[in-house]
């Protein structure tokens, strides 16, 4: 009797989860169904909770001001109006100029692209040097960079402002790029270093014997391997720099402000009637590029991971 029970238990343990699932359901159908239902209910509630704000934003941006004033927050628009989108993009007033978000959108692009490229490039070469060309003190340097990741934005505002002033880059786009590059290097170095640590040292040895030097090994062997980590780094840096408000509002002025600062100004500087539909459209426009980066690069990220050709 007892040995029979033990056998059954051993058999259950050996069988795959797929096969044991129907067994368990047959044993206690009520609780299983109940739990499954509860699980979906909770998940559904979470989905609602997270998508509701987006839904409200989109719906509101498509309504006319008249309708917003009368109607409920959640109701669908009676008539779809795209004028608020056009206004937000091209003619909303920020301060005295009424050109919408468009110029600031390009400001952000001009800021984000170089900042992401430079910080990713420096992170890649740092990570390569710190993992494959160790030197006395390299671990200390890496530790300090890691520490840099934990320094909050607010802490560096004043010293950074003084530094930018001293080197004559205050209030310029290049100054803002420099701030983001310096702040981002800690993260990008961390990403690349941890990725390269897993690449076998023998690859470097083989390449050294083949006659390649520091840079040739980096560009011809390590960079082609780095697509997955590069995508991760680019997503991270792009999102952070695009969404940054604090550095943007502190270190830029007048026409060179990034889109986040412009969005803030649109929302806060309306006179007379508050145009909620324009505000919502502007907020969505400001968030679109990061969404796009996730959708486009996310695919490459998965592809890069599954290619997994590092293993010898």
């Amino acid at each position: 009797m007892t040995s029979g029970q033990a056998d059954t238990r051993a058999g259950l343990m050996r069988s795959t989860p797929l096969r044991s699932a129907p067994l368990r359901r047959a044993g206690r159908p009520w609780t299983a169904t109940l739990l499954r239902g509860l699980l979906f209910l909770i998940l559904g509630l979470f989905v609602l909770y997270f998508t509701l704000p987006l839904f409200v934003m989109i719906v509101t941006s498509l309504k006319s001001l008249e309708e917003i004033r009368q109607g409920s927050l959640l109701g669908l628009p009676q008539e779809i109006e795209l004028t608020s989108w056009a206004t937000a993009w091209g003619s909303a007033c920020i301060g005295v100029s009424c050109h919408g978000l468009r110029p600031y959108f390009w400001n952000s692009i001009l800021l984000v692209v170089p900042a992401v490229v430079i910080s990713t490039a420096i992170g890649a070469i740092n990570g390569y040097a710190l993992s494959k060309w160790r030197f006395p003190g390299s671990d200390v340097i890496f530790g300090l960079m890691l520490f840099g990741c934990f320094v909050p934005f607010q802490v560096i505002l004043l010293p950074m402002a003084i530094t930018l002033g001293k080197i004559g880059m205050a209030g310029s786009v290049s100054g803002l790029i420099l701030v983001h590059v310096v702040y981002g290097i800690g993260f990008t170095t961390l990403f690349f270093r941890n990725y390269y640590v897993a690449v076998p040292d023998e690859l470097v040895k083989a390449a050294k014997i083949d006659g390649a030097g520091f840079l040739a090994i980096f560009t011809q062997i390590f960079l082609p391997l780095s697509i997955p980590v590069m995508v991760v780094t680019v997503i991270w840096q792009f999102t952070n720099i695009w969404n940054d408000f604090l550095f943007g509002v502190s270190f830029s002025q007048g026409g060179s402000q990034p889109i986040t600062v412009a969005l803030n100004n649109i929302v806060n500087s309306t006179t007379g009637v508050k145009e909620y539909n324009v505000d919502m459209a502007a907020a969505i426009i400001a968030a679109l590029p990061t969404l796009l980066v996730y959708v486009v690069a996310g695919k490459y990220f998965i592809r890069g991971l599954t290619a997994g050709s590092v293993k010898g």
Partner: protein, 376 residues
């Protein structure tokens, strides 16, 4: 002039001494195998020869030139790694020609070298593939191709076969040996597998604890190991060791061990004591000194077969374990308080627990000092 020399080479990592006074000299065309248990320093030595690590003291000479400060790429060497270290994003063709492309060798010359090596290693059909699309054996070939393509003065192999399965390993071993013969290449080869060392080497250096404990031709190491360490390391199944003492009987030396509580004498007067034992027990050897007698399993055979001419003794022994491998069987006996392994023909019928007549051929024994573990 030797292709490679190492003079009084030392290496330490902080307080740990990895290599102690390594002196080697390798002539053109030699196939030297560095063999030893893991952690004996053999891979470190190879890396120092390649220039991937620097020695703490001593010199490395290639073709008579001190190369201590010469970069790996300028030493005219090629290396094959245990993990193959193929560049994962490059095709086989690009992998093999990478060194030449980095050195700006003209395209035509590169193409010729590639074709020569591809033909030599039978990998012509794989040239467009990526390393991830190759099997273990194919990767191994490509790794060798990358080394062969440049015709270096010296080839370094770092455990190149240990990632392959047994059958493929034996096949690649044969191919490496053939390549060595055909190309007349000079090779230094690191392995922990003594079978590989025995079958490939023209000379073997057995390393232990950062030192070369014996250097010589494979057969010499097998027949005349200079210490118990080498005797135990080379050969499979390993040599049998019997503890006992030397005694003089009628001015002739005999080896006395205790078997089943009674002393048992084995004649050793044919052994070359090298002046240690002249007529009586004298010289370095005291009467009754503790010794260890080593005898290889192939000299422990069935007493039922016919033997003649050799110095030998026969015993009734009880088999405690047997292992058949088709060609022969390894039988374990209890003898003088230790295990004695014999190699019997597989035709011989032996039963565990039933006494069997065992023949010990003493013509090829080794004697070691019990204390220093060194050969007499």
């Amino acid at each position: 002039m030797p292709v490679l020399q190492s003079r009084n080479l030392y290496k330490d990592f902080g307080a740990v001494e990895v290599l102690k006074d390594i002196n080697l000299s390798i002539e053109a065309g030699e196939f030297l195998v560095l063999v030893g248990p893991s952690g004996c320093g053999k891979s470190t030595l190879l890396n120092i020869v390649a220039g991937l690590e620097t020695a703490s003291a001593g010199d490395i000479l290639i073709d008579g030139q001190i190369v201590n400060d010469v970069a790996p790429k300028d030493r005219d060497i090629a290396m094959v790694f245990q993990s193959y270290a193929l560049y994962p994003t490059m095709t086989v063709e690009k992998n093999i020609t990478f060194g030449m492309r980095v050195r700006n060798v003209p395209r035509r010359e590169r193409e010729e070298a590639l074709q020569r090596v591809a033909k030599l290693l039978h990998i012509e059909h794989l040239l467009r593939r990526k390393p991830s699309q190759l099997s273990g054996g194919q990767r191994q070939r490509v790794a060798m191709g990358r080394a062969l393509v440049r015709r270096p003065k010296l080839f370094l192999f770092d455990e190149p076969l240990s990632n392959l399965d047994a059958k493929l390993r034996a096949q690649m071993r044969g191919e490496i040996k053939q390549l060595h013969k055909r190309l007349g290449a000079t090779i230094v080869y690191v392995t922990h597998d003594q079978t590989e060392a025995m079958s490939l080497a023209t000379r073997i250096a057995v390393m232990s604890d950062g030192k070369i404990v014996q250097l010589g031709a494979p057969q010499d190491l097998y027949d005349r190991p200079n210490s118990i360490f080498v005797a135990d390391f080379i050969g499979s199944p390993a040599m049998n060791f019997i503890s006992g003492r030397i005694q003089a009987r009628d001015a002739k030396p005999v080896f006395v061990a205790d078997h089943d509580g009674a002393p048992l004498a084995l004649p050793v007067d044919h052994y070359d004591f090298g002046g240690d034992f002249g007529g009586g027990v004298e010289g370095d050897l005291r009467d009754g000194q503790e010794l260890i007698l080593g005898i290889r399993p192939e000299y422990v055979t069935s007493g039922a077969a016919n033997h003649h001419g050799a110095v030998s003794v026969d015993f009734e022994l009880v088999p405690s374990l047997m292992e058949t491998n088709g060609f022969d069987q390894h039988i374990v006996f209890e003898f003088c308080g230790a295990e004695l392994v014999g190699r019997f023909s597989s035709k011989e019928s032996v039963e565990v627990g039933r006494p069997h007549r065992v023949h010990l051929d003493l013509s090829e024994i080794s004697l070691f000092h019990a204390e220093s573990k060194v050969r007499l």
